[in-house]
């Protein structure tokens, strides 16, 4: 099966400072991919670059194809069909993505007119169906309400409704629940997975929360300093992480049950993009770094079916991990 999205060697630089340093990703139809990493690792920039949403001073190179058609450098008319149509995006702060002085109906109708050529009563009926779909009670009446009349969780539901207006093949959810309370986060994640199943839609879930990604995605890519360092099916990644950074992220997460243990913190901080170390970007913080790590950056190489790691000591660290597990 040909992939829905395939990204090859995507690179982005802001005013000469590289922030994305060669990202390769593929996404199948209907697949849920999780993207984790710390702030500044390039999780969001990857998709903003692929969709041509970065400001003009950003230098983008490489390739991003949707169903085989190149998106980078595509004419605006073609991108307008893709953005909000075939690929929709929702963000962390839903309130700032809605216009506060227009009713929900007007804002939903705008998306429906643009991507589905619906107007008048047809648009209103579809807007109502979408609000019903995302679980807004009393949809017919609430269509005439303004964004401030909804709670934070409901506004995120409305953003999801708007994203669904163009019947997208791919939904990019960028930290969709980070600003929400725990019980509301659970509601929104459940809604997303139900909709994804029913519409057979692919999803990219960008999050700093490993738990959220693990539970809602088939496959996870871990990003560090503008590169993907490990890619694996989510159950395998969390049970048996190979890259020292992925191991560190999981070790840093306090457990909710079982015995309490001291957290395994990753020392140091993320390198400054303007002064990236030669070689592996994680080497200065890595407990297993060897001399060779400082020489050249490791490539993302397959270690099994569906699994790839960018670490010259992938094999060694794997053994070390097994050693820890045996203790």
């Amino acid at each position: 099966m040909s992939p829905l999205v395939s990204i090859r060697d995507l690179r982005v630089a802001f005013s000469g400072v590289p922030v994305l340093r060669g990202v390769d990703l593929t996404l199948g139809k209907g697949e849920a991919l999780g993207l984790v990493g710390e702030s500044g690792s390039g999780k969001s920039v990857t998709w903003l670059a692929a969709l041509g949403l970065l400001p003009r001073h950003a230098r983008v190179s490489g390739s991003a194809r949707l169903d085989g058609r190149e998106l980078l450098g595509a004419p605006a008319s073609q991108l307008d069909q893709v953005r909000g149509g075939r690929v929709a995006m929702i963000f962390q702060d839903p309130a700032s993505a809605l216009n506060p002085v227009l009713t929900i109906r007007r804002q939903l109708s705008e998306a429906l007119a643009l991507h589905r050529n619906l107007s008048g009563e047809a648009a209103k009926a579809e807007a109502r169906r979408l609000l019903d779909l995302v679980g807004i009670p009393d949809a017919a009446r609430r269509l005439e309400a303004y964004p401030h009349e909804f709670s934070g969780g409901q506004v995120q539901r409305i953003m999801i409704a708007m994203a669904l207006a163009g019947n997208p093949d791919l939904l990019i959810a960028d930290e969709p629940t980070t600003a929400l309370d725990a019980t509301i986060q659970a509601q929104i994640l459940e809604l997303l997975s139900t909709i994804r199943r029913e519409m057979n839609m692919a999803m990219v879930l960008i999050s700093h929360d490993l738990g959220v990604v693990a539970e809602n995605c088939d496959r996870v890519a871990v990003m560090y300093a503008g590169r993907i360092v490990e890619q694996a099916p989510s159950n395998q990644l969390f049970a048996d992480p190979v890259h020292p950074y992925a191991q560190g992220l999981i070790g840093a997460l306090p457990p909710l049950d079982g015995p309490r243990r001291r957290l395994v913190a990753i020392p140091g901080t993320v390198p400054d993009p303007a002064h990236m170390p030669v070689g592996c970007a994680f080497a200065p913080r890595c407990a297993m770094a060897a001399e060779a790590c400082g020489v050249s950056a490791p490539k993302l190489a397959p270690i099994a079916d569906d699994r790839a790691v960018a670490c010259i000591r992938a094999e060694a660290s794997r053994r070390a991990l097994l050693g820890i597990a045996a203790e």
């Binding site: 710390e38 702030s39 709670s151 934070g152 969780g153 409901q154 309370d181 725990a182 019980t183 509301i184 986060q185 659970a186 509601q187 994640l189 459940e190 997975s193 700093h208 929360d209 490993l210 738990g211 959220v212 693990a214 539970e215 809602n216 989510s234 159950n235 969390f238 049970a239 560190g248 992220l249 999981i250 070790g251 840093a252 997460l253 306090p254 457990p255 909710l256 049950d257 309490r260 001291r262 957290l263 395994v264 913190a265 990753i266 020392p267 901080t269 993320v270």
Partner: protein
């Protein structure tokens, strides 16, 4: 068991809020009859969603805000009136840390100067002693004197939070209120700061009130946990036991909503409805409109926090412990 350092007895605090320009003002009960005991050298974790009153509780405990009713006692004595000499002396023994370190630091002063400020304010030591103390504090939070010469803008988020922590420790306080201290930090940095906080607590015998919405971090650091919902404590107990066997339906939903790697969302309790509005608190048990197990009684009668088992206390009509059963 160590003696209590902070005793909070039935504190309440309400604010008045006006809806619209000409609307009538309504009372918002941010905190309603909260009682807590924090023992010396221990950590009490306060958990809840936004609007549950956990930060207001922290502010009242520190004396930053007076309670409408109830009392806070520190080391056996009631809190002194704000602005008095006794209050100043008491305040030097208690400090706080907030979520946003950049907002808590002055961007135009080198951080070492800011760490020294509490020493200047409380007039502790000579100039040379203060300089020594600043270097000692920087070392305590695992930074170097070179970091002290920098401005907040030149430090990372984790380093800034260490500076805030160093400043809070400057006056050798006994009690620290931490309000979401690691929520703005990335996971790997969060672990560094949590470990540091645990180490410092062990070294200095600090007593902590740790306020957070993150159950994992709270469990990691707390001895006792209290769960708040709409201004009231709905459940309290020892940290390990409470998260392993939550009794209150709200705590159960919170624990179940906390995502875990390696566990698919099957069997998750997903609460219906929106987070509660403190200005329109439901009658009876405030949680009953969202509670999957609510019965008729829950809509009319407010459950009181009562002992269930050991040190566990729960405010729910449906949870009856050994004591309640014995009495019946």
């Amino acid at each position: 068991m160590s003696p209590p350092l902070v005793e909070v007895a039935a504190i309440s605090r309400s604010y008045s809020m006006r809806s619209g320009m000409f609307g009538r003002s309504t009372a918002v009960h941010a905190v309603d009859g909260v009682s807590l005991t924090i023992r010396k050298g221990e950590t009490l974790g306060l958990v809840g969603e936004s609007g549950s009153g956990k930060s207001t509780t922290g502010r009242i405990v520190l004396g930053l805000e007076p309670p409408d009713r109830g009392e806070v006692r520190f080391d056996g004595k009631p809190m002194a009136a704000t602005g008095t000499v006794a209050w100043r002396a008491q305040r030097a023994r208690m400090q706080m840390i907030f979520q946003d370190p950049l907002g808590a630091l002055d961007r135009r002063l080198p951080v070492a100067t800011q760490i020294r400020e509490p020493l200047d304010i409380h007039g502790l030591g000579t100039a040379a002693e203060r300089e020594d103390r600043v270097r000692e504090l920087l070392r305590a939070v695992e930074l170097t004197p070179a970091h002290g010469a920098r401005y907040p803008g030149a430090l990372s988020g984790g380093q800034r939070q260490r500076i805030v922590l160093a400043r809070a420790l400057a006056t050798k306080p006994d009690f620290l209120v931490c309000d979401e201290p690691v929520s703005a930090l990335d996971v790997s940095i969060q672990a560094q700061v949590v470990n540091l906080l645990c180490d410092l607590q062990a070294q200095l015998g600090l007593t902590l009130l740790f306020i957070s919405h993150d159950l994992r971090v709270v469990r990691q650091i707390s001895n006792v946990v209290a769960v708040m919902y709409l201004g009231r404590i709905v459940e309290t107990g020892s940290a390990d036991d409470l998260f392993a066997r939550p009794e209150h339906p709200y705590t159960q939903a919170l624990v179940s909503a906390s995502p875990a790697p390696g566990r698919r969302s099957a069997g998750r309790i997903v609460l219906a409805g929106d987070p509660p509005n403190p200005a329109a608190r439901p009658k009876g048990c405030a949680f009953h409109p969202r509670c999957p197990r609510a019965i008729a009684r829950c809509a009319s009668e407010v459950p009181t926090l009562s002992a269930v088992d050991g040190d566990r206390q729960v405010a729910c009509h449906l949870v009856t412990g050994t004591q309640a059963r014995d009495a019946a």
